[in-house]
Amino acid sequence: MILAIASGKGGTGKTTVSASLASVWPGPALAVDLDVEEPNLHLFLHPEIAGAEKAYMEVPLADESKCTACGACSEICQFKAISLLGDVLITFPEMCHGCGACLEVCPAGALTPDRRELGEVSWGQAGKIGFLMGKLRVGEAMSPPLMRSVRGKMAQMQAQSGADVIVDCPPGVSCPAVNAVMGSDMILLVTEPTPFGLYDFRLAHQAFAPMNKPMAAVINRAGLGDDGVRQYCRRHNLPILAEIPFDRQVAQAYSQGQVVAQASPAMKVAFEDLAAQIRCLASGDAEAEKEAHHA
């Protein structure tokens, strides 16, 4: 199964929950960082990197000697990435979405595929946890194409190992976040009980609900703000699987790069229980539910 750890608001504890769940997961786990703009999971899991490769996107390369200045490419391009200035064809590779439309329509064979570097995909092992991440090149605007590369590698690694996949998603609810959540079997929303937390939590719930996947919430820093998130979850039948209390010790453990589930025995038990609940919600399996109650 693939579990997406998401949130509307940034900084609510997605990475904390992802790293902690991976560390207590019963059975083989693959931890994947799809927050490619600001990947942080490796800072807590400290994986040994076994391999890495650059990811690229196809962009057009113009051959002036063949170009007949017909304008078909600049007419179809919706991203202002290729334009005809008088008789001269100019490309703006940074603007290109890699759709291939210009190459498809060019009647003169004047365009050939070139590539733009998106960033890096790397993988390895953190103890018994498999690890995979993407890291966007600084200056690159588009994260979804790199996320597609990471997801390709993820499918390969999952097929090889048979592991359950825990995906640390980017914040927000626009295209990168939706992209990250799309292929999952279950969504876990991490929020904090504050007005900002609630507002963005609601956005995320509304964005992801149409996907019809099992969805549940974890409240981080419980006790800090108000009761809005809990009331919202009750109204929308969204199960709250865990509340991580606001505690200076937890915050300090995080600030020292520790996996929170390993910071105290109580936290470890809390995350083991969370993992068991997730497994039964994702499978909808009555037997697993019984097990979870015994755990």
Binding site: Q78, A101, V138, G139, V173, S174, C175
Partner: protein
């Protein structure tokens, strides 16, 4: 009139709470929320809408099922895996369609329409701290960069017409499309970080991005007392990199208490933290002025 942008790389470091406080301290400005994906500043400033506009950007492909011959060419050519095969016809997954028009152009049955995409709303509002320009992108939409550019344009026009002296913007998290759109051509970036491995890591990436776009940056270390050693480390990094350290703020639960009441921290209490913020604001104004003069 200088544009000042608050960013962080990592989410949840306190961008919006601090932007609210700086908006309270600043005179004669336009306030802008450039986090169009998950905006929160309005929760502190309770804007009253003056004008509400719809935001259309780009187009999306829609297959007419009665015209589709199920030849499958669109699915074969689409690079975004956005075409799904149905029982009687193919259809487009709107969340995956990037609006590139390739399928529209190639379809031999001319079965694919290409209407404009309604991506969100934007508005100009009044707040107790001055005019505010803000937006809400609909879930799952792209083109957040274009919406950010539009908001900045509106803020500049509002400012020119009414003689406001600066634009103060709350930025999005990350380093991708909306951040690049917020940052390019702005006069000063204030990077809010926290003394954690993630805060530090993301600070370095966002500072690199500022350099890429030649935007001067200052740094605020928020909640520095959660890990004073890590805080020191970040201060050292700033000194080495020639980044002005604008403030080191202690963790204070009053930040959340103020938020719950819909207030900014400088309205809620006066103490060491708010004094440090006021000093930071003086430095920010100086830095932005220096940049503008140069």
């Amino acid at each position: 009139m200088p544009e000042i942008l608050i960013i962080s790389g990592k989410g949840g470091t306190g961008k919006t709470s601090l932007t609210g406080a700086l908006a309270h301290l600043a005179q004669n400005k336009v306030i802008c929320d450039l986090d169009v994906d998950a905006p929160d500043l309005h929760l502190l400033l309770q804007p009253q809408a003056r004008q509400i506009h719809q935001f259309y950007s780009g187009n999306e492909a829609i297959i007419g099922p009665e015209l589709c011959t199920s030849c499958g060419l669109c699915q074969e050519k689409c690079r975004f895996e956005a075409i799904v095969e149905g029982a009687d016809a193919f259809r487009v997954d709107p969340l995956k369609c990037e609006g590139c028009k390739l399928c529209v152009t190639l379809c031999p049955a001319e079965a694919i329409e290409f209407p404009q995409r309604h991506c969100g709303t934007w508005q100009i509002s009044d707040t107790r701290m001055g005019p505010m320009v803000h937006a809400q992108l609909f879930p799952g939409q792209e083109n957040s960069g274009r919406l950010v550019a539009l908001l900045r344009q509106q803020a500049r026009e509002l400012s020119d017409e009414n003689g406001y002296e600066l634009i103060l913007s709350d930025g999005p998290p990350g380093i991708g499309c909306p951040v690049i759109s917020s940052l390019s051509g702005t006069d000063l970036a204030v990077v809010v970080t926290e003394p954690t491995p993630s805060g530090r890591h993301d600070l370095e990436r966002v500072v690199e991005l500022c350099r890429h776009f030649k935007v001067p940056a200052g740094v605020i270390i928020n909640k520095y007392d959660l890990n004073p050693d890590q805080g020191q480390d970040i201060a050292g990094y700033c000194a080495r990199e020639g980044l002005e350290l604008l403030a080191q703020l202690p963790f204070d639960p009053a930040m959340v208490q103020a938020m719950v009441q819909g207030k900014v921290i400088t309205e809620y209490q006066q103490n060491g933290l708010t004094e440090e913020l006021a000093r930071a604001w003086e430095k920010i104004i100086q830095m932005a002025g220096r940049k503008k003069a140069a």
